[in-house]
Symmetry: none
Subunit: 205 residues, 4 copies
DNA sequence: TATGAATGAGATTTCATTCAT
DNA sequence: CATGAATGAAATCTCATTCAT
């Protein structure tokens, strides 16, 4: 049973390696299966097709991240945000959870975020951004209500959501050490919050 | 002779369309040449190979942008930055020049920045970022010199360079109208400068 | 033991469904066994190979039909056909028996007759036709003996045998209700007998 | 230019041979192209795909037959059929034209009619039958109008259309010599007309 | 009795590139 | 200047079949 188990594990490990190096589109099932010591046909015993193999690599980490983000948002919306004051470090807990999770499946997530072109997961990052944007929108609406004569800057809102996601992607791509990552993400998040407070509202003419 | 000229123009126009729709890797020379009313063989009269065709689409706009950025940096470094004060609008001229140039060759630049995977130009964006980063580094060193007991945050520097480039890419991708683009880039740039001033230096322990 | 029995039954039922939908060649053992809740390997416990599975679906009905036809022919040849007079309804008993049997195993027979391409049973219909043709030949020889100066039209004989079989196949394919089928086959058979009497002999030059 | 021309011709000739022997589904592009002395890739220069290659073999003959049948039907409907009398030989001209055309492209038509399973042309024979049936229906309606108290037998109409087509297919399959074919089709058609007149109407209860 | 794993050969299709003409 | 033909390699995927357990 160990052998069989190992074969599947090995296949997925080799797929992960190849996807990371070449991206979905240029990855070759032939070379993946050769590396895993099996025939291409055997791959189709373990998964439906190339997209299925990709899914076998990324699905679990993806689900974990999605769950974490949703949970955080639910909690976040319940807290009192009436003050809109920002103290550096407010988001530390979330950042810590995110980073710990991101680095737990670092390769799989890098593949998902940067090497999925051509796959069924292409554009997954946009779904992340949408998610964040919805949350940010709700927040901004509350905020705007407190400042008559001000109007929400929708473009800024979208761009900041974009940057927030990319901040994590950038980290994952450029920093190997999760400890350092945690230190580095803090000023980034602080800056985003400051920017948010300063620029999400503009004068209503 | 006009005919030849026209044929080349048409080829490049069709290539631009296909690259924009499918990206470099999935674009097919057969379908490009068919659209341009010629055979695949004919393509090899006009350019060396697939990468060459891609270059024919993006090289000129790329050079123009590179030149603009370099020129701006040369000028920027000569101005007195000893104050490091930021007044909103400081970067307006540059932003205006950038946006006007970006939108003049919008399709080609979108291709270069987002559809070059698999081509010789894959990762070109990193070269842009390097360029900006060098400039930002020089600036930051001057800045740091004025604040003993402070140390430059290298990660922040790199990330901010990244974000600066991506701000323009995001704009190009999401905003069709250059007039609106100009209005939207301003708070973005303001926020980046504020963030720069607030977070590029950190306490030296 | 019941379980085993059930498993086999289920396998054959699922095979029947798949063969009916896709035909022998396009049917997939994988999808059949999946539908039957077993692995492809298990199929090889129940039958030798793909052709064997096909046989498990069609053999019994095939034998029943073959037996019926043979029995009818033996009986038919013993009756006095010296008159060669045809009264509408002469063949009613046979037609009734045929139709009752055909509709008892309708799916299996449709598979055998129309979906066997690629299998060992491909062209089985020709064996039916041969069988009928032999019988018709014997009949025609008696008939011809009674008409000197006339000669049997061999092509007509073959074609009529062909049409006779196809009349039943057509019925099975186009008519769901065996009651209606019985009503519809009568004028068909009448017409065939009339045609037989009128055209099976031709002038001998 | 002859060479190029020859290559395409040879490809189609080899395809015709393979389709005739194995049928569409079991025919292999690999073995066709090998027989034609080219690589599989080259096949795709000459035609779109496997179905396209099949079309290159059968399209022209198919169109010719369709045109002939349509033309015949148009002419046939204009003649006075008020008498509904049948004289043997009435259909000789049409039969002659059909047979001459069928045997001119015999192999291609055999492929189309009997070896097209799995291709885009699968079931083409049903379209022929529909065509004939429409024509027969129009005829039968006129006929029925002349016999009050009688009702058209729709099943018989459909079956006779079926048999009419199959009479030609049977001929093409079983008789090599077009001269003999012409002689053999006559009593067949005579019998069909007689059957038509005798059985297409039934008592209206 | 049945499984799960794997094979190995085959299928069609796509593609950038080359080259004689 | 451009074509039409062809290559050759690679791609993904499917399948009946086998076999140790």
């Amino acid at each position: 049973m160990e052998k069989e188990y190992e074969a599947r594990e090995k296949l997925i490990a080799c797929a992960k390696k190849e996807f990371l190096e070449k991206g979905f589109a240029k990855a070759s099932l032939r070379s993946i299966s050769a590396a895993a010591g099996m025939t291409t046909g055997a791959v189709y015993f373990f998964c439906k097709d190339k997209n299925g193999l990709f899914g076998a690599v990324v699905d679990e980490p993806l689900n974990r991240i999605m769950t974490l983000i949703s949970a955080h948002f639910s909690a976040d919306m319940e807290t009192d945000v009436s003050q809109f004051q920002h103290h550096p470090g407010d988001h530390d807990d979330f950042a810590e959870a995110m980073i710990s999770m991101l680095y737990a499946d670092r390769d799989a997530l890098l593949i998902l975020l940067e090497k999925s072109a051509g796959s069924r997961y292409e554009g997954i990052i946009d779904r992340f951004i949408e998610l964040i944007e919805q949350h940010n929108l709700a927040l901004a609406e509350k905020y705007a209500a407190a400042f008559p004569g001000k109007r929400m800057n929708r473009y800024m809102l979208h761009w900041l959501s974009h940057v927030e996601i990319n901040a994590y992607v950038h980290l994952l791509t450029h920093e190997d050490d999760p400890q350092k990552a945690l230190r580095e993400i803090k000023p980034v998040m602080d800056m985003l919050v400051e920017g948010w407070l300063a620029h999400i509202l503009e004068d209503d003419i």
